[in-house]
């Protein structure tokens, strides 16, 4: 847990820098790579279980 003794401001700053680094360090984003990624995310995209109340998840799991 690297953030254990960090302030919330320090955590946010570290995340901001990390995301900027991710954009810089990743391969150039092409339309083809994006299309592949869209497919990957659409596979999990219909899973909205966390937005269901527990009782609906319960009945869904029993169905």
């Amino acid at each position: 847990m690297p953030f254990t003794s960090s302030s919330l401001e320090e955590i946010s700053l570290a995340d901001r820098e990390r995301l900027a680094r991710m954009v810089r360090e990743q391969p150039t984003v092409t339309r083809e790579a994006w299309n592949e990624q869209v497919k990957l995310f659409e596979k999990v995209g219909r899973d909205t279980e966390s937005s269901l109340p527990f009782w609906r998840r319960f009945w869904k799991s029993r169905a």
Binding site: F3, L8, M22, V23, E25, R31, L40
Partner: protein, 167 residues
């Protein structure tokens, strides 16, 4: 807010909140569905324009996502908010990775009547929809690209039975 055009044609993907287009500068253009401004956690499932703009502001401030507001498209019942954000190449994060990410940032998971939600009492921040479809696992860890962030009212916390830690 200024009026802006949308990219030509349909977006490459549509979610429950946004239509999304690839932009050649390594970013995506996102537009809310006409007359909608995304979702909310709690009994009111649809956000107002102000709530949506607050969500963007908090996502930028707290998670460091470069989510930029371009403007509005259309008017009245067809109004859409047009924004952009960087594309993070990667795969959907797993539920365990998301849980570790949130716990590391001192959020606590609450299972409520409105669904699961992460809450941090230190600065009164609530994060909903932290699902694999909304978090990318990229080259340097996780990037929350479409979670729902808000500062909940005391009433919403009570309705959700989210209890604050006793001091």
């Amino acid at each position: 807010m200024n009026q802006v055009e949308l990219p030509a044609g349909f977006g490459q993907t549509r979610g429950s909140e946004h239509e999304v287009w690839f932009a050649s500068d390594g970013r995506v253009i996102k537009a809310t569905h006409p007359g909608e401004f995304g979702r909310l956690f709690g009994p009111d499932r649809f956000a107002t324009l102000d709530q949506y703009l607050e969500r963007i502001r908090l996502t930028v401030e707290l998670f460091g996502l470069d989510w930029q507001i371009h403007g509005l498209h259309g008017s009245g019942r067809n109004t859409r908010v047009v924004t952009s954000q960087p594309i993070f190449l990667g795969k959907p994060a797993t539920r365990q990775e998301i849980a570790d990410f949130m716990l590391e940032r001192r959020f606590v998971l609450h299972r409520t009547r409105f669904g699961d939600v992460w809450y941090r009492s230190e600065d009164n921040v609530l994060v909903a929809d932290a699902e694999p479809k909304n978090v990318v696992h990229g080259v340097a860890g996780l990037a929350p690209i479409d979670v729902i962030v808000c500062r909940p009212s005391e009433e919403l916390l009570q309705l959700s039975a989210i209890t604050l830690p006793s001091s």
